[in-house]
Symmetry: C2
Subunit: 453 residues, 2 copies
């Protein structure tokens, strides 16, 4: 919350409690995004009062700026206690935002809301509701400027002037034929700078970057970021324009996808809501399966340790260094996996680079392992003056091998998963670390068998 | 690279080698972003030829769409072999992109380029070059539409029409007084939909979201994302407008910051370039210091193990389960740290929530620990039929304790660092795992001392 908003909050609360007529003058200078912060900080009753006092179009703006989970929390009591206000707000909300909100409601409540709307609006909402979450269709809005290709620039500006209020953006207009087939894109910049009598067909750009409603939102964001678009048109199989996705929604998706990637890397199923808004039970559900999988992955370690320590004369002393050795391998693997998984997510590398990547990682791993071995030997020498030869040599060689293997597994596993068509982010960094743990133990004791018998 | 681009590449190579006159018709329908993909795939000589054949403004567009590291790689030979072409390109490039590019050049080469430009342009570039990397100043462009507040809408559209070509965006115009003091913002949407005779002062929005040139780019992105801005004005201490930052640059920053966060979480110093473009030596430099720090962090483990195993009758058997116990704690800590560090980065939680977060994490940790203990006991019972009581009990209790402590440390350490003003992402997930390793060992053996003596 911005400082101004926080400072105004007590006054707004007082106005809501005692003198609602003061409210408009207090909130008049705040941006809807700041009003959204404020609304989210109020308790349910005051919040309801706020939404019934403010005009419906401002309420719609505020809801559009609320977190997704809060939006539903605000809207549900509004439907029950002030249904006509709720309908008026839905009516003026942007097509994409209201669909997101309605998708969260219970089926019964949704039916109730849809029944209260115009047939056209209800139909539009039902169509958008049908698209899969995280698809271009779920992200798009149907409020875009489509104009006949034979319109003149002057005529187009006149048309836009009339419909501007209802449009998500007017900075991109789309030239279409009578069947809504997309012919070209025209920016408001082109319209303003071209001769007034030129037709859209003459000035439009016919090489249009488009997406289809079933495409994934990651692809949408990639296109918007790559081509610096303000809006990306969504077309059906007949190249008819069915909606557009605007750049402000793309930014939200980039942040959302980055959050998902970080959570997957940390071995957590992506949360639907923000951390504090997620119920404890959902947090457990997102974490427990991974924790069990990782536990099972290292369940081999007791067997490995039992086998080696029963055979080995220096078993006890060797076991002291187990955490040091395997955590170094795990850390190296985590580093590689973080680099590779992110580079894959950004499309900077692909499985076609596997050989190149493994060759790099081998050299990096060897260099890191040798450097770490020097630190390790110094540390061992400082405390284990006796039997220094064999133990120091074992630890040095094990560190070099384990760090290198960590780098190779950390880069190789994500690349392999990507090649198999599995999201490489499921090879979370703890998962890589677990594989390296088991491998590292075997390496460590096999090396000990060479130097310490 | 898009499929069309890849398919056209061989033809372009052939045209460059044999018949450059064909080039324009081949590349005519490609977006500059696709031409940038193509240019980056060519070898140095053909690429040079491409940049000398294509018109300078298209070359500028292409460079703006290249990766930052490639941009310099392309531009440097151009300055040497075709200085006049290089100057013509610099002249038409967007103010923010050309400064990014010039910042990468050697001082001598930069001086040479600046000497070849108009005095005004050179001065503008020198000023922008002075801003710190990752600051709003380094991100902004000085090509924005500033208009006197007493201009009419009709007059404003006329003025914009004339200067549109040179502007980064014309969708936001800024009303200023004769000293360049920022008075209000007007969107092209407002200009087009308002009465032609209205003045900017009448229709402008005087509540402007602004930033200063020294603000961090994270703050810039936060404002653009929060307020759904197409451009954010940058003002100096006298509220004079000095530049604007456009939404397409903000998307790039969001991706860049997310990449940095993932790398920091993986215990890597953020790379300047993409993975494949980073020299091996830089990769080692970004990884080694962290690997050593993490190694030193777990250097306590041999001491802890030595102390406990020398005292304990069941030492060897206990040591078999060390990796299992500490990795479970580390995984739980990694999960918590991933959630908390990302939530802190997005501003969804702050150190003020510490108590609330720790209370949640304690309950989540306990639940996860108990669930994992059940799995663990089942696994131990399956293989260690003898002495089952004490060992199973030790492992169960240790798992509950270690997983809970992992969750508490994983959430508490990032919050503490944030409170101390240190970037919480430096408490990378391996770092948390290392702390939990050491703590986990002590907990495990202390519990063993209770149940297994």
């Amino acid at each position: 919350m911005e400082t101004t908003t926080r400072l105004l909050l007590p006054e707004v609360v007082e106005a809501l409690e005692t003198d609602p007529s003061q409210l408009l003058s207090l909130t008049g200078e705040l941006h809807p995004a700041d009003l959204a912060d404020m609304a989210q900080a109020l308790d349910t009753e005051l919040r309801l009062r706020l939404f019934t006092i403010l005009p419906a179009d401002l309420c719609a703006d505020i809801l559009e700026h609320c977190d997704e989970e809060k939006r539903t929390e605000i809207f549900v009591p509004l439907v029950s206690s002030a249904p006509s206000t709720a309908l008026a707000i839905i009516d003026t909300m942007a097509a994409d935002d209201r669909v997101d909100m309605l998708a969260e409601l219970s089926q019964e409540m949704r039916r109730k809301v849809l029944a209260g709307l115009d047939d056209d609006e209800a139909k539009d909402i039902r169509q958008l509701l049908a698209y899969k979450e995280s698809s271009a269709g779920a992200l798009m809005t149907t409020d875009f400027v489509a104009l006949s290709a034979d319109t003149t620039c002057e005529g187009a500006i006149e048309e836009i002037r009339v419909i501007a209020q209802e449009m998500e953006t007017i900075y991109q207009a789309y030239a279409v034929d009578p069947n809504s087939t997309l012919l070209g894109v025209i920016s408001l910049r082109d319209l303003v700078t071209s001769p007034k009598s030129a037709t859209l067909a003459e000035i439009m750009n016919p090489n249009i970057i488009t997406t289809t409603a079933t495409d994934d939102q990651e692809e949408v964001v990639r296109l918007i970021a790559k081509y610096d678009l303000l809006a990306l048109p969504v077309v059906d199989s007949n190249h008819r324009i069915v909606g557009i996705i605007t750049v402000d929604d793309a930014i939200d998706v980039v942040e959302e996808e980055a959050t998902e990637d970080v959570q997957k890397l940390g071995a957590i199923d992506p949360l639907d809501a923000s951390y504090l808004a997620t119920p404890i039970l959902d947090l457990i559900r997102a974490r427990l399966p991974w924790l069990v999988v990782l536990f099972l992955a290292v369940l081999a370690t007791p067997f490995v340790l039992e086998r080696y320590t029963q055979m080995h004369p220096a078993a006890i002393m060797l076991s002291w260094f187990v955490p040091l050795i395997i955590s170094s391998g795990g850390n190296s693997g985590t580093q590689s996996a973080s680099l590779i998984i992110r580079a894959l997510a950004l499309g900077k590398i692909s499985p076609a680079h596997t050989q190149k990547v493994l060759w790099r990682e081998m050299r990096v791993g060897l260099a890191l392992g040798i450097a770490l071995a020097c630190v390790g030997v110094a540390a061992v020498m400082a405390r284990e003056a006796t039997r220094i030869g064999g133990l120091a040599l074992t630890i040095a060689c094990a560190l070099v091998a384990v760090v290198t293997v960590g780098a190779l597994l950390g880069s190789g596993v994500p690349l392999l998963l990507q090649r198999l068509g599995i999201d490489p982010a499921v090879s979370s960094t703890p998962f890589i670390a677990s594989i390296v743990d088991v491998t590292g133990l075997v390496i460590y004791f096999e090396i000990a068998n060479i130097f310490l018998v």
